[in-house]
Symmetry: C2
Subunit: 333 residues, 2 copies
Amino acid sequence: MNLKILAKELNLSFSTVSKALRDSHEISYETKSRVIAKANELNYQVNPLASNFRKQKTKTIALIIPEVVNDFFGPVINGIESIAQEKGYHVLIYMTHEDRQKEISIFKLLQNGRVDGIMLSLSEQTCDFTHLKELKEKGVPLILFDRITDQLDVSTVTTDNSAGGKRATEHLIEKGCRRIGFLAISKTVSVSTGRMSGYLQALKENSMNTEDELILYCDGDDRMNKDLIRKLLTSKNRPDGIFASVETLAISTYEVCEELGLNIPKDLKVIAFSNSYLAALLNPSLTAIAQPAFEMGREAAATLVNLVEKKESRFRPQRTEIKSRLIVRNSTR
Amino acid sequence: MNLKILAKELNLSFSTVSKALRDSHEISYETKSRVIAKANELNYQVNPLASNFRKQKTKTIALIIPEVVNDFFGPVINGIESIAQEKGYHVLIYMTHEDRQKEISIFKLLQNGRVDGIMLSLSEQTCDFTHLKELKEKGVPLILFDRITDQLDVSTVTTDNSAGGKRATEHLIEKGCRRIGFLAISKTVSVSTGRMSGYLQALKENSMNTEDELILYCDGDDRMNKDLIRKLLTSKNRPDGIFASVETLAISTYEVCEELGLNIPKDLKVIAFSNSYLAALLNPSLTAIAQPAFEMGREAAATLVNLVEKKESRFRPQRTEIKSRLIVRNSTR
């Protein structure tokens, strides 16, 4: 496939196609778009040129997240925006509300050169990645952060979910817990499965049995999750420690304990992944594996900008893990 | 000023200029931009056409906020995004970090047709509005929300700060408070001055004196704010009630009370404007004037989209106030 064939297919002159691919001001926006589209269609090696075309056109990157209601994505947005300001990029924000169909329609909106690149945190429902692969094939730089998948060769930015999960579980063991419950948010979302693998590993290394009834999948609404937790905490052989994969599940645990008259930390020790100052304000204050959300936002944006500006190869995906920290507070004392 | 003169100034044919202003696909993007810029410069009546050009081009609106670290702007973004999805708009997000210079440079970025309209919550530092006036004169639809100014004829979306502030103060009076402190965040930011006017009015209607030493301007960092609150709470004639204009100042008050051994609500009753579920989780739970942040986001976006699509006149600004609610909890019992 060379430029001449492409020009012939488009019924345009060699020079027009060449100029279009170099984003010349002599060529109208519509013609450029048509050239890029056809080049993509014919698998002409258009990616570097196409993305150059896009880069000069938009200086815009898209952020696609589930939503902003939890305390994680607030500081993430701040981090992303700080890099965008430094590097002169604009940031478009989209939410999937955990709906795969919405994720797909947002991707469709972004394939026509509106953005130079995309940062995505997967919706809970997404287990088929065709729309991501299509985008990648079109040469639009893509990185995944926080909620990722191993099934795609793209750069990722996460916290050390597995190591953090292991540390959380070990902390409960050190504090004397012998039956530790794990509160997952889903069977598929990477942050949950990663933290759970750390939990399982810590149990194994400490010769503690894994028991299915100690692992709850809290993927319903608040009331349903509390029902699950209540059932666990009123069972005959109830746990003496709870590791919540996210902060909201620790709060649900607090509420169920109050209801049942269980004292934290005396009757039950609680630890959770957390990103907010809320943990310190709870009663008792919550021991946490603190995720550096602002740093993750910065790293995600910096990785994407490097890809867009070709300072990094698109063919050697980076896996960046940002370290979490254990902050011991009263819920495990 | 007519089209012929404009064409001559640009050294382009009448038909090219006319097509450019109608956003014809025959004209390159660069030429269109040049035509719009010159038309603006020469005060050609370009606004309807230019904004039409922009509208068809971008379907993008910009959100400019101080930052996302506090719990207010998270649900606001959700609300804005929900309207944007319904109406098929893209949302660009920018943060001023309370810095007027940053606000001005963001406005400069947005004057060249990148967006169809702008939603702004003013930075704390902004007391000169030249950059807003310039934008308005260029015909870019603008609305202000949450932190607004009366010095511009633009549509605004706020909560009922003054009525909410009055209700908060009356609630403390009903609960027996006789000396009520008010914690402001600034002498100029509208949300703070509006809430304070409600506070003053309630005192007046209840024949209570206004005392300067009961009003603190907490516009420093956390440590400085706590120093001010500590000084107030250790003064000879300390208040028996505190009305915090924002939730973070209520949290600082909680921390100072713990430090000083003051019991909330026995020694001091506390109420605050709040937007988050955090208030219910504090110990004691915090009585709040709850701001409908999600609804404010929706209303702001809907107002702007109506302006952009000319369903509302740009010359009759709307002042929309969304009602807050008093939620009584343990901090005032």
